[in-house]
């Protein structure tokens, strides 16, 4: 099953290379779409396979762990990869109509597939340095995607995005250097054993804090989130949606993976209160930042931050249920947030602006779009029976179980404030009369509508049938919470 296991890396890479060979626009779109479909199918098959058989380990180049690079796919990775496949497919579909000629010619499609490769690589790797490399693969393509097109706002956003992410990478690399110097290994499973045996001294502890900072910058947690609302709204909607859905979540994934596997001792000790406080502040600042905005994508960007707080809260509480909640939340959030950005792009396509003060009347002219907006918007706010309700419900139940009442209260309040921002978009863009003297309405290309319908359907499906997703999240969380199986599987000692 080695080929299936590495397919999330091989397929986007192959697609990217093919796209570089076939430069004609027609072929670009065709190859990109085929690649995305094949990729999506493989990720689903992989998830099914991992669900059936347990953790899959690939020693690249047959170097045994901990000496070589190891790819490890446990259930958590497989879930994230499957969601990536779904999002990648929808984004590829949306890009067919949304991306303009210039961006197509300068390599939007190959970059998108390489980005997917980087994301999947980060989800699969079992090695700390390799995680850094995948981060960089992902970031390099995201840098170019961010700046592609060369509009003034894009370049200004890209300068901030590149700088902050470079600093995050330097801090990450510093932590890797310290950890290697202290333990002599970078394989996550081996590290878990070594750190677990020796306990953690001041050096390891400072490296943990650096990792928290580095992953925190990438995830956009308080107080490192400033680059996110300054840059995410500048590229075209397709790119924004791809970033909003996947990139910050890779930071959250890395946090959950490394802290639950390697630094579980720290997690139940000094790291826990720090993470809880950070999560609370992330939720509150994000949602308050959104309240002040009147540009659709900026509102949504700030909401990424506040939602990240829920996920890190799931990690911070560090019980099996809380981890399951964090995983469920990741799945729900990736789908919903990508969808909202795509809808934002569609609103812009129809009305010509993202500014809520300049648009209106969409409910009258596009009732279908209004309904499609309500699904992810209410889900984000946590209204039953949509996916967001069960995500928030599980987090809050996990919080009540460990009697952290204050953070539960904050989480509930932030949920209500989220709803406030969503009703603001609803009231301004859909409900109110169009302020323009001659309201413009363009027809909606079916390629832009289809991914939105698909993702809204996924949101509703998770909402009405949450049990399978919860069950699989619970099993993934069990694997995370009891890493012995993971460690044995990687190091091959039974």
């Amino acid at each position: 099953m080695t080929w299936l296991a590495v397919s999330p890396i091989i397929i986007p890479l192959g697609t990217g290379i093919l796209l570089l060979l076939f430069r004609r626009l027609r072929y670009q779109k065709l190859v990109s779409m085929i690649g995305a479909v094949v990729f999506f199918v493989h990720t689903i098959v992989l998830l099914w396979h991992i669900y059936q058989t347990g953790i899959e380990v690939v020693h690249v180049g047959n170097w045994p762990a901990p000496y070589g690079i190891t790819l490890v796919i446990d259930l958590f990775s497989a879930i994230m990869i499957a969601v990536t496949g779904f999002v990648g497919f929808n984004i590829a579909l949306y890009a067919l109509s949304d991306i303009d000629r210039g961006r197509n010619r300068f390599g939007f499609h190959p970059l998108m597939h390489i980005l997917l490769m980087g994301v999947c690589g980060a989800f699969m790797t079992g090695d700390l340095f390799n995680l850094y490399v995948w981060f960089e693969v992902m970031l390099m393509s995201s840098f170019v995607l961010m700046a592609l097109g060369g509009e003034r706002s894009q370049l200004e956003g890209a300068v901030k995005y590149v700088s902050l992410n470079f600093i995050a990478s330097v801090i990450f690399l510093t932590a890797i250097g310290i950890i290697y110097g202290k333990t002599g290994t970078l394989n996550l499973a081996d590290l878990a054993l070594k750190v677990g045996d020796n306990g953690s001294g001041p050096m390891i502890r400072s490296a943990v804090m650096m990792l928290l900072t580095a992953f925190g910058i990438k995830a956009g947690i308080f107080p490192y989130f400033f680059w996110l609302p300054a840059s995410y709204h500048t590229p075209p909607a397709t790119v924004s949606a791809l970033f909003a859905g996947l990139l910050t979540k890779v930071g959250v994934y890395a946090m959950i993976r490394v802290f639950s596997l390697v630094f579980a001792g720290e997690m139940s000790g000094s790291l826990k209160p720090v993470l809880i406080i950070i999560s609370g502040l992330t939720m509150v600042t994000g949602v308050l930042g959104a309240a002040a905005q009147f540009e659709i994508r900026k509102i949504l960007s700030f909401h990424i931050i506040s939602q990240i707080g829920y996920m890190t809260l799931g990690l911070a509480l560090f019980t099996p249920l809380a981890l399951a909640a964090a995983i469920f939340y990741l799945v729900h959030h990736i789908i919903v947030k990508t969808n909202l950005f795509l809808i934002g792009g569609l609103i812009r396509h129809i009305k010509g602006s993202y500014d809520l003060k300049k648009i209106g009347g969409l409910y009258l002219s596009n009732p279908l779009l209004a309904f499609l907006f309500l699904v992810p918007a209410l889900s984000l706010g946590g209204i039953p029976p949509l996916s967001g309700f069960f995500a928030k419900f599980t987090i809050i139940r996990a919080g009540l179980e460990v009697e952290s009442y204050l953070i539960v209260l904050i989480a509930l309040a932030v949920g209500i404030l989220t709803l406030y921002s969503m009703t603001k978009i609803w009231a301004e863009a859909f409900w109110k009369v169009d302020p323009a003297e001659k309201p413009v309405t363009k027809s909606i290309p079916i390629m832009m509508l289809l991914p939105i319908i698909l993702m809204a359907a996924a949101t509703i499906a998770i909402g009405f049938f949450p049990e399978p997703v919860l069950e699989i999240s619970r099993r993934a969380a069990d694997q995370l919470f009891n890493p012995e199986y993971y460690i044995r599987k990687v190091l091959g000692v039974y």
Partner: protein, 115 residues
Amino acid sequence: MELILALGTGSLYAMGLYLLLRRSMIKLIFGFVLLGQATNLLIFTASGLTRAKPPIIEANAKILSSSAPDPLPQALILTAIVISFGILAFALVLMRRAYDITGTDDLDEMRGTDQ
């Protein structure tokens, strides 16, 4: 030797961070360079220094002698150098382009996307 390298690494970090805090874009780039080099030196130093012994397996031996240094950090550094070179090359072009379009290299002037 560790002490000298540690001091060097520390001052490289300090200089890099200082340059990052300046407003000029070109100083930002220099800051990146220094920070990248500082990290490479840190990996090199943290993994332990050995004097004048390359990590090469002797002709008649099967494994590396135990007194030789660990070759892995050097592989890590090599990877890190390549990656940071790529990012720097991109950052240079990006900043040049940003300078052409916005007409300023003052980072404080680039507030168009902050509001």
